[in-house]
């Protein structure tokens, strides 16, 4: 109950700040443009998912950390009240992550509805993109909170960490994987590769997108490991459970931190 009250305050505060509206508008513009130029086909969906994979982790992480710093006084004020820390934490987190996820969902879904794409395109792909976007928002806002709490006193360090880890997860990590493939290509490295991909939430989301849109290419791969992994329900379920783990662990860690923290 208390969580909900905090959540509502947060919500009002966010709307007043207009940031969240702008964030939603960005998605609206991008999705609208993609659908217009991509003829409402699978191409538009692919472009939207590419943008999603790029933008959501960045915004989620930066904004998560930043918001924690901004609302420091508010948090300290609330801590003086008879509220337990767990509900305060979930109120703060939900108050940011849920509006962010909503902004993404509405911004992406609206153009799909008014262009009629929702009727012509594959509904399963649309739902997958929206669900992935929501999961990624929750996940990376959680990570942002974790960084924010870890470096609560040193804002530059916290934001820096958030930025660098985005760069690492989005670009450098794949570079390392590519390097590993070309160094150890003669060995059976499919399984370690899969493990590496599952260890990075952006790659994880990317592979889920691949499973939806590029399955015909993935099935063209000569090795049995990939085709067995991707060709069965196992691929999807393993990817989903890893995503859940990625969602759970940072949140659990930051809640622990929040509870122990001396504000």
């Amino acid at each position: 109950m208390k969580t909900l009250t905090i959540l509502r305050y947060q919500w009002k505060d966010l709307l007043r700040g207009k940031w969240i509206v702008g964030y939603g508008l960005i998605y609206l513009l991008i999705a609208d443009a993609m659908i217009r130029f991509g003829n409402a086909g699978p191409k538009a969906m692919l472009s939207i998912s590419n943008i999603m994979l790029l933008l959501i982790p960045l915004v989620g992480m930066i904004y998560g950390a930043l918001y924690l710093y901004q609302s420091r006084e508010f948090t300290e004020l609330l801590l003086a009240q008879p509220i337990d820390r767990a509900s305060l934490f979930w109120g703060l987190f939900g108050g940011l992550a849920i509006p962010l996820a909503l902004a993404f969902t509405i911004g992406t879904a609206l153009p799909m509805i008014y262009t009629g794409m929702i009727l012509t395109a594959n509904l399963q792909s649309i739902l997958l993109i929206l669900m992935l976007g929501i999961a990624l928002t929750l996940l990376f806002t959680g990570l942002g909170f974790w960084f924010g709490l870890k470096f609560f006193e040193d804002r530059v360090k916290g934001l820096g960490f958030a930025l660098v880890s985005w760069l690492f997860l989005a670009v450098l990590y794949d570079g390392l994987v590519l390097l590993a493939v070309f160094t150890f290509g003669d060995y059976p490295i499919e399984k370690p590769m899969l493990a590496m991909a599952l260890a990075n939430p952006i790659d994880l989301a990317r592979i889920t997108v691949l499973l939806e849109f590029d399955i015909s290419a993935l099935m063209g791969y000569t090795g049995a490991v990939f085709s067995r992994f991707f060709g069965s329900m196992m691929g999807v379920s393993v990817a989903l459970s890893c995503l859940m783990l990625w969602l759970g662990i940072p949140l659990w860690r930051s809640q622990r931190q929040f509870e122990k923290k001396d504000f």
Partner: protein
Amino acid sequence: MRLKIITTILFVGLMLFLQTQKTVATQITVSQDGEITSVQDGINQAQPGDTVFVKEGRYVEYDIRINKRITLLGANNAVIDGDNQGFVVVVEADSTVIKNIEVHNSKAGFMDDYAGIVVEGAHNVRIEGTKLVDNFFGIYLAKSKGTVLKNNHITASRKRETNSGNGIHLWYTKDVEILDNYVAGHRDGLYFEFVEGAFIAGNESENNIRYGIHFMYSDHCRYERNTFRDNGGGVAVMYTSNVEIVDNHFADNWGSSAYGMLLKEINRSQITGNTFTNNSVGLYMEASSRNNVQGNEFIQNGWAVQLMANSTDNKFNKNNFVANSFEVSTNSRMNYSNNFDKNYWSQYEGYDLNRDGVGDVPHRPVRLFSILVEKQPQSLLLLRSLLVDLLDAAEKFMPVLTPETLLDSKPQMEPVL
């Protein structure tokens, strides 16, 4: 004198009567409770031109020989069951017609090509509306001219390549028409070897163990409006020139060596108006030259076109490439005068300032990443990664590893069809 006239009239009348008797074909009915209970007996009693009508029921018979020109006509549910003993129906006479009959369970074997219906050395045969179930080979034509196969439904349920035959098998035939048949579950749906001038239209071939159509040394054939779906290896067309492949549909062929269509040593052929959807590889070309690939649609394939460097002088014009993972891949930096022109590429990132519908910068359909995947297939897992997109963009700017001349200088801004 009078007697003579009367006898002459009577004799002539009798002759005329006999004559008419002969020209009106009789129908011989085979039924399980009638006089004639076996199809072979019915055929033996028939005169050339007669119709042997097989009534409803199951006739367990094999090696039925049709050695005179008759029509073998089945009622609904008239089934000839070979009981896995040998060939079922063997046609040896020209102009035989087989219609509406069901043929089940020919023998399977490695020494002979046992089949549901065999036509060997007979011309102008017509096989129409038959249903073939679980035969080793379905319909087997050898050394036949002018034969027509129409509306046949051919299925089998064997699982392995070694104990399964082809649905429609043509060997050394000429001017055959194969129209509106359905083939599923055989080794190759349709198999052509040394066939000339065949016309293949409106057929559907799916879920076969190896190829939907397997086509070799068969010049001057035309196939149009056929659908080949979900076959183990897709479709293979090899060692042939002057084939016309028009308005066919190749779909859902998934696997490491599954191709929408594989062309090997195909020359001077027309590939127009086809759709390739959801295949691991849409069109694979090896050692093929001077073909015209025009007006086709490649939608959501893993690789739309794999063009091996030993293919030369092919023209790819006015095709649509939509949402494929890879548009074109090749195995060399060289491109021997294959020409890509006026295609629509959904991966094109250029602009059209003068608004004439043609992009102002050329499109390079071979991505750097496709070469990386060619070298290390495992890196396929990095598809659609930001890093890979960055590498591709850099390569497009200054081609170092991709073929420099393989480009579309007039990429269309809108789909062409």
